[in-house]
């Protein structure tokens, strides 16, 4: 295979394989899983290869679908910004697939497995496609592919999941339609759908009301898909009730891909000065995000279910990313892009732990987690790594993206947002230390039963290899991303930030 075609292959391979998996599943269910692993492994290879090529070339790879020249044909573009996000998506999908092997059987009936894997691959197709495409309408189609698979996957979950999926669907359709309308408005005045072409045509029209309406619709559509604060209401229910492996796939990826699309629309399709100076878009987004961070933090404190608490943490994290965009300077945007990548790994780490705890103890309640460090020491260690990263403790990656976000706030002199970031870190600390306290320091209940054995009896996790490896891997990635964050910024992210900053 020619490396030239990797941009197309990374989307087409999981798309075609999803149907093949379904067909194989009709005959023998056992072969579904290996096929999925091979497909996603190929995606990881394509993404890694493209990232390397972008880094050595120093500029973007443009791929023309069917050799049609850009303004007419669909163009796939890989640059520094989406190459690293593509790789993160592929890696997370790959390891969540491994994780799902042992985990998903406990939550959905055996005969639904082919359907599950079909949707899993379609979901990955959609997410990779949203990230790689350079065409505004193509983005809509792929957004819908990802959303459909998400609705169906969520509906496989616990009691009430199908109702949550329906509500998500109502919201998601409004979001997608708003995006579609926005594209329609832009098409009406420019006659183009290609993002790079739009970027050239639009600056002359910045005073047009049609353009402003279109821009507003695009932002609203993406905001709903990425669960920005006032329109996040679909997220907690649907991600809580979905099967563990599904929420481990969706929760870290979907919202972050939405955040990526927001950066694309605001800074690639439109010039950064449009949303900073011409209209106070970044300022408005900043206030919305700040309100969302505080609101989601308080709601997270009120939850006793671990997955639901993590859902509100996601809403807050999305707020961080938007806050970085709102600061509209180099530091803030570096922080945002770094946080997209870091947050993907932090959330997948925490959601896999939540899924494991749920499948082992049969409960997602924080109060039921007492003394778990004795029965599942590895799982809880992974949880500690992920949690400390969300709080922002230095060796973990969460600290570094927060550091850049704070630098961005200081440089933009946005003191209110700075205070919001710091308060939110404190709220996160309370959130997770509350759980640590429950897990580690609740000695009273257990000690009475263990006569004379020093009160400590540690057993290893009763987990299969397939569940442990992904969790430990995610924890390692969190630490490595933190240790090498300087290198990542120097070699990738500094080129990903729009040149104007």
């Amino acid at each position: 295979m020619n490396p030239e075609h990797y941009p197309a292959l990374i989307v087409v391979t999981p798309l075609i394989m999803s149907f093949i998996v379904f067909t194989i599943g009709l005959f023998n269910r056992r072969y579904c899983f290996p096929v999925v692993i091979i497909t996603l492994g190929a995606c990881v290879y394509f993404a890694f290869n493209m990232l390397m090529r972008v880094m050595t070339l120093g500029n973007a790879i443009h791929y023309r679908m069917g050799k049609w020249a850009p303004p007419w044909g669909i163009e796939y573009v890989v640059d520094h910004l989406n190459a690293i996000i593509l790789l993160s998506i592929a890696v997370i999908a790959f390891f969540v697939a491994i994780y799902s092997k042992a985990n998903i059987k406990k939550e959905i009936p055996e005969d639904k497995l082919p359907q599950f894997y079909t949707l899993f691959l379609l979901q990955t197709t959609g997410l990779l496609g949203i990230t790689i495409t350079g065409d505004a309408f193509n983005l809509y189609v792929l957004l819908e592919i990802a959303s459909f698979s998400a609705y169906a996957l969520i509906a496989m979950g616990r009691k009430g999941a199908e109702f949550a999926a329906f509500r998500y669907m109502i919201f998601g359709t409004i979001g997608a339609c708003a995006y579609l309308l926005g594209v329609g408005y832009l098409y009406m005045i420019t006659g183009s759908l290609n993002m790079a072409d739009l970027a050239q045509l639009l600056p002359k029209l910045y005073s047009s009301t049609v353009l402003i309406t279109g821009f507003a619709f695009l932002l609203v559509g993406i905001a709903i898909k990425m669960a920005l604060f006032p329109v996040h209401t679909w997220l907690p229910d649907s991600y809580t009730l979905a099967p563990s492996a599904v929420s481990a796939l969706l929760a870290p990826l979907f919202t972050k891909v939405g955040a990526y699309a927001l950066i694309r629309v605001m800074f690639t399709m439109f010039e950064p000065s449009f949303s900073i100076k011409t209209y106070p878009v970044t300022e408005i987004l900043g206030w919305i995000a700040a309100a969302g961070i505080i609101f989601a933090g308080i709601l997270a404190l009120a939850q006793s279910d671990m997955k639901r608490m993590l859902c509100y943490v996601i809403v807050a994290e999305i707020g961080y990313i938007v806050l970085g965009i709102a600061s509209a300077n180099r530091y803030g945007l570096t922080g945002s892009i770094l946080h997209i990548v870091n947050d993907m790994f932090m959330m997948v780490c925490l959601f896999t732990v939540a899924g494991t705890v749920y499948s082992q103890t049969g409960s997602g309640d924080i109060n039921q987690m007492r003394g778990l460090h004795r029965t599942m020491p590895i799982t809880i260690s992974v949880f500690v790594v992920g949690a400390l990263s969300v709080v922002g403790v230095p060796p973990m990656c969460g600290f570094f993206s927060k550091w850049y976000l704070i630098l961005g706030m200081i440089q933009a002199k946005l003191w209110v947002f700075l205070v919001v970031l710091l308060i939110s870190s404190l709220i996160n600390a309370i959130l997770f230390f509350r759980i640590f306290e429950k897990v580690f320091f609740d000695l009273s209940a257990k000690e009475g039963h263990t006569h004379g054995h020093n009160g400590i009896s540690v057993t290893m996790d009763k987990l299969s290899f397939g569940e442990l490896v992904p969790m430990v891997f995610f924890a390692l990635v969190i630490i490595l991303l933190g240790v090498f964050s300087g290198a990542i910024i120097d070699h990738i992210i500094q080129f990903a930030v729009p040149k104007i900053f």
Partner: protein, 126 residues
């Protein structure tokens, strides 16, 4: 009045989208929500189709074709087919949405015996 008449296609789509939005947000019955969602989607399709339309326009092909006498239609005279083609995709997306939504509604009805939103929420609380 002239503002309405001269741009009546946009007004129709605005009215339809509001009807759909109202259905989605205010109705208690999940099936009615779904119908509202469909109206919402189709109104956007109508909007796209209408922006590609032109009075007295013709098809964007070379008249006479193949031969040397082929005469190219000027851009101002033909109808842009692209919005219509885009809507083929959007229609497929709409059909898929409706399909998934109906499936979900069937599951909800089998499990809870009702499609009224408040009754489903009541049943879930138990």
């Amino acid at each position: 009045m002239e503002l309405i008449l001269s741009k009546f296609n946009y007004w129709i789509y605005v009215v339809l989208i509001m009807v759909g939005f109202y259905g989605m947000m205010a109705k208690n019955n999940l099936m009615k929500k779904l119908i509202g969602m469909n109206i919402f989607q189709w109104s956007i399709i109508l909007y796209y189709v209408s922006i590609g339309c032109k009075k007295g326009g013709t098809v964007p092909v070379i008249i006479g074709g193949h031969g040397a006498e082929g005469q190219i239609v000027r851009a101002i005279e033909y109808i842009n087919p692209l919005p219509h083609v885009l809507m083929l995709t959007a229609i497929v997306v709409g059909v898929a949405t409706t399909g998934i939504a109906l499936t979900l509604l069937i599951i909800i009805y089998r499990k809870y015996g009702t499609l009224e939103e408040n009754e489903v929420i009541e049943a879930l609380k138990k």
